[in-house]
Amino acid sequence: MSITQNTRHNAQSDTSDTPVRGGSSVALRDIRKSLGGSTIVHKLSFDVQPSEFLTLLGPSGCGKTTTLNMVAGFISPDSGSIILDDEAVTSEPPNKRDSTMVFQQYALFPHLTIGENIAYGLKNRKVPASEIRKRVDGALQRVGLDGQEDRYPKQLSGGQQQRVALARAIVVEPKVLLLDEPLSNLDLKLREQLRLEIKHLQRDLGLTTIFVTHDQTEALVMSDRIAVMRDGRIEQLGTPAEIYNSPSNEFVAGFVGQSNLVDAKFLRRDGDRCIVELNDGTQVSVRISAEPTPTSDTPIRVLFRPESLHLIDTTEDASSPSIDGHALEVVNEGDNATVEVEISGGKTITVRVPDPSGTVLPVPGDSVRVAIPSETGLALLT
């Protein structure tokens, strides 16, 4: 805990020494890559704005790491171009690209001290020794490890090693910082702490950053924008709020956040919303994510986030549409509880009950009624 506070303090007091850079832009244009006959990345294009934190989020095998490695230069694309600050770097090797990477397994040089590790990139860039010293000290301070420069990587904990790796990457002031699942090897508490530290550091330095992860929470917490990837394509690119509130399809909805997908029938358009009919005949007004407008009676899916649904008394006359069912499983985590409700058709939906201390939770087997406040649902085309 004290380390976090230190880091923040240092990060603030340090901003005067190291000028905040405007950051650079990165653009990928029609990148394609296949390996061993299967296509890993299909015609991928996206832009990263100066000083933006962009996350490539997706399950393993979706091509996010391959994409990152192409930006770094470790893998060259079959076609397409990579543009760093208006300059095509597609055929430049990694050592000629002004990008640095933080790896999942830290990748600190074991025979060099912490100070030498951080100085490594600066020496390659022929920075004068006196300036190297200053910048290494500054970088160590930024990550809250001042005074550790003479120790060896093995003597540090995993979290400290990853901070060193971060310092080593940022000290050269790269045009773009690449983070390859840097938190995946750490335990939960450290992960939560470090993701905030990284975010602060990135914001303070104005570093253009591409972050690869399969962890949706990390993506939501850290990113300015998220690109959700599947099978070598971007399914949706948007701010965390857009991705969470308005996923463009079932895959995105299912990958980011908890979701209830309920079968329904499209009835009609109603302004920027639409009316759908659930299986039990209930009609609900929901938002609709995509054009074109489906024709009447088209089967669609409706997404309800667990926290947008409420449990109400079965005797209560619902002011909003509701679905009846019975409780299957009730999990009380203290600050919130989740209730699994089986509805008609054998489908299960999850309802989150915030602050369960004041309410009477159902027990498994109880009949329950789930209220659907209007406009909380989102219709997804199947």
Partner: protein, 271 residues
């Protein structure tokens, strides 16, 4: 119960120490005998030792013996350098290649160790005469010694490379180091212990070599072991012991220097 276990542990420790002393005794006694032979006056040393003399050293430290010693050292030195360069390069390629090719190549590169050296020596001799060559001498010896030096280097460097994560090389490359610079600043320092160990083995294999050198030395260029062998066919003198001690001292010195540069004991004894 507790007491009992304690005494068993003590007995085990005692047994271990006894075995250790016996093993060390077994290893060092022949060498101590050689040293002792060189510093006493009798042609056939008597036990228990009573007198001390350096007279055999006067015979040993002459051109007759020092020239072959110097040649042996020179050949071993050059053969070691070549073995280390070729063997390390091969080991690196093997460590970074896929498994099937690797097993085959590794077997191939270590095969000289499986053949009796005298057979290799004969083969080299026949090979040279096949091409009409009749020259024998240091160059040929170096070439032959390299063939048995390489397997040692490939093995020891190969083992040390197992501990060098390719990710470190990627990180260095990413941080702006060229391939060459990555090799010299990251890979090479990390495989140093394997290189030193391999170099030491290669040197000793060459310096002490008899079988491989047997057919390949010429009268004007004779290595120390061959000179000793030839000498002993016709006569015997404790000055041989003094010569042997000189050689041993040289190798010991190299081992000490090598272990100062790197923790080679780590390498030989495992980390």
């Amino acid at each position: 119960m507790k007491n009992n276990r304690g005494s068993i542990a003590r007995a085990g420790n005692a047994l271990r120490n006894v075995l250790l002393v016996l093993t060390m005794f077994f290893v060092t006694v022949p060498m101590l005998v050689v040293v002792w032979t060189s510093i006493q006056p009798n042609t056939y040393p008597k036990f228990p030792p009573t007198q001390f003399s350096l007279k055999w050293w006067n015979e040993a430290l002459t051109g007759e013996w020092m020239r072959p010693l110097a040649l042996s050292a020179e050949i071993a030195g050059i053969a070691t350098i070549i073995s280390v360069i070729l063997g390390s390069a091969a080991a690196y390629a093997l460590a970074r290649s896929n498994s099937r090719a690797r097993t085959m190549l590794e077997g191939f590169l270590t095969s000289p160790l499986l053949l009796p050296e005298i057979v290799i020596s004969l083969a080299v001799l026949q090979f040279i005469s096949m091409f009409g060559g009749s020259w024998l001498g240091p160059e040929l010896l170096i070439a032959a010694h390299v063939t048995i030096g390489i397997p040692f280097v490939v093995r020891t460097v190969g083992v040390s490379l197992v501990g060098v994560d390719p990710l470190w090389e990627r990180a260095a490359y990413d941080l702006g180091a060229s391939r060459l610079r990555t090799f010299f600043t990251i890979t090479l320092p990390l495989m140093k212990s394997g290189i030193f160990a391999g170099a030491l083995f290669a040197f000793i294999m060459s310096f002490n070599n008899v079988e491989l050198s047997l057919f390949l030395t010429s009268r004007s260029a004779t290595t120390l072991p061959i000179k000793i062998l030839n000498y002993m066919e016709f006569e015997y003198s404790p000055s041989l012991a003094a010569v042997a001690v000189t050689g041993m001292a040289g190798i010991l010195l190299i081992a000490v220097i090598a272990s100062r540069f790197t923790r080679m004991t780590d390498f030989i004894g495992g980390r």
